[in-house]
Amino acid sequence: MEIARNDKIVTAREIGVVGCQRCTKVWPLGTKRCTRCGAQIVSRDHKALQRVWAWWIVGLICYIPANLYPMLQTRTLVSVQQDTIIGGVITLINHGSFGIALVIFLASVMIPVGKFLAIAFLALAAQRGTTSPSKQRMGLYEIVEYIGRWSMIDVFVVAILSSLVQLNALAAVNPGPAALFFGLSVIFTMLSAQSFDARLIWDAERS
């Protein structure tokens, strides 16, 4: 595709127009709503950063009980065991299932923590300006958007196990309160990432 003006990349704001972020249609600056798709139009959504932080904080608050309460309660003939997220990973390692331990550790610890840090970094960089290249920050944002949903895997595993392992006296698995808090934390961080206005990534480097 051809660039608006020769080789130099020109932004919509520089030539006094604004693009719809939902359907990419171009409108004169100051248009409030895109009549093609109905989306609200803002040249730069600085209020978006407040929403990013609001969801980020709620997500972080939910992530704390998600780690303190048990995720799963496993009852067998010989024992009753309550596992938190980390406890579950350690149990798996003790049983020698290193692969699954790694999957759960990635999905439930590494990805959520990494996501909190990444969103905070992107938001701070947009607020204060930064020297880190826009391309790298855009890559980080895409990874956050793509990978964040996969944290939900642990909640699904809990749902699957607690419906499947109901073998009367022999063994039973029941969900713990952490499943709810963890699920909420994933949802809130997804909303936080979605609230972010990716165009701010590119402005931050220029100024």
Binding site: I3, I9, A39
Partner: protein, 207 residues
């Protein structure tokens, strides 16, 4: 700057605000933002009809996968097999019911709803009829729900659950697991066929 081009001939990258002249690529080619590499336009020959076919297949698969067992377990003579509906309804009682509602929503209702919205939007377009009533709203909703449709994550969750209790009991995949695997592929195919820019344009021209 004196010859400001017509706004309708321009397209703005929603992720970085770079503005371009629309130069519609040939079928099978993609127009990519030169600044942030977001795919802006990616038309396909008869994409509409193909997407509708895939959507119908997804619809049937999700319904079938909801009621057939995806995992079965056997230990010491006790046997249990569960469907997605069983798994989702396990968190009954207390605040954990939110987890079951969320699980059902993300692996059944949202995929089903998205499929229906896409068919609703694309059928008139494919048949060269004026857009359906509120088609813009329907397509916006379908796009907004995209990250919340998590059937593929559930499929991986089944595999993790299987290995997690492998030493506790004998576990086997049921038919619904394989349906979820096919579903995962179909959803990816559907998303790669869908050129959002083309859909928005077709919803606009006949207004």
């Amino acid at each position: 700057m004196s010859t400001t081009p017509h706004l309708k001939d321009l397209i703005v990258c929603p992720n970085c605000d770079a503005i371009y002249h629309v130069a519609e690529p040939n079928f099978g080619e993609r127009a990519v933002c030169q600044r942030c590499h977001t795919v802006l336009i990616a038309p396909r020959k008869r994409a509409g009809a193909q997407i509708i076919c895939v959507a119908l297949a997804v619809f049937i698969l999700v319904l079938a996968a909801a009621v057939t067992p995806f995992l079965s377990i056997e230990a010491g003579g006790a046997r249990n097999s569960v469907s997605v509906l069983d798994a989702a309804l396990i968190f009954s009682g207390g605040p954990l019911i939110l987890v079951s509602l969320g699980t059902v929503a993300m692996i059944l209702f949202i995929p089903l709803l998205r499929v229906m919205l896409v068919i609703y939007v694309l059928l008139p377009v494919v048949a060269d009829r004026p857009p359906a009533k509120n088609a813009a709203w329907a397509f916006s909703l379908s796009e907004a729900l995209r990250p919340w449709s998590m059937a593929e994550i559930f499929a991986i969750g089944c595999a993790v659950a299987l290995i997690k209790v492998a030493d506790l009991a004998q576990i086997a995949f049921g038919p619904a697991f394989w349906m979820f695997c096919i579903l995962t592929v179909l959803v990816v195919v559907q998303d790669s066929f869908l050129c959002r820019w083309s859909v928005w344009k077709s919803l606009e021209t006949t207004k």
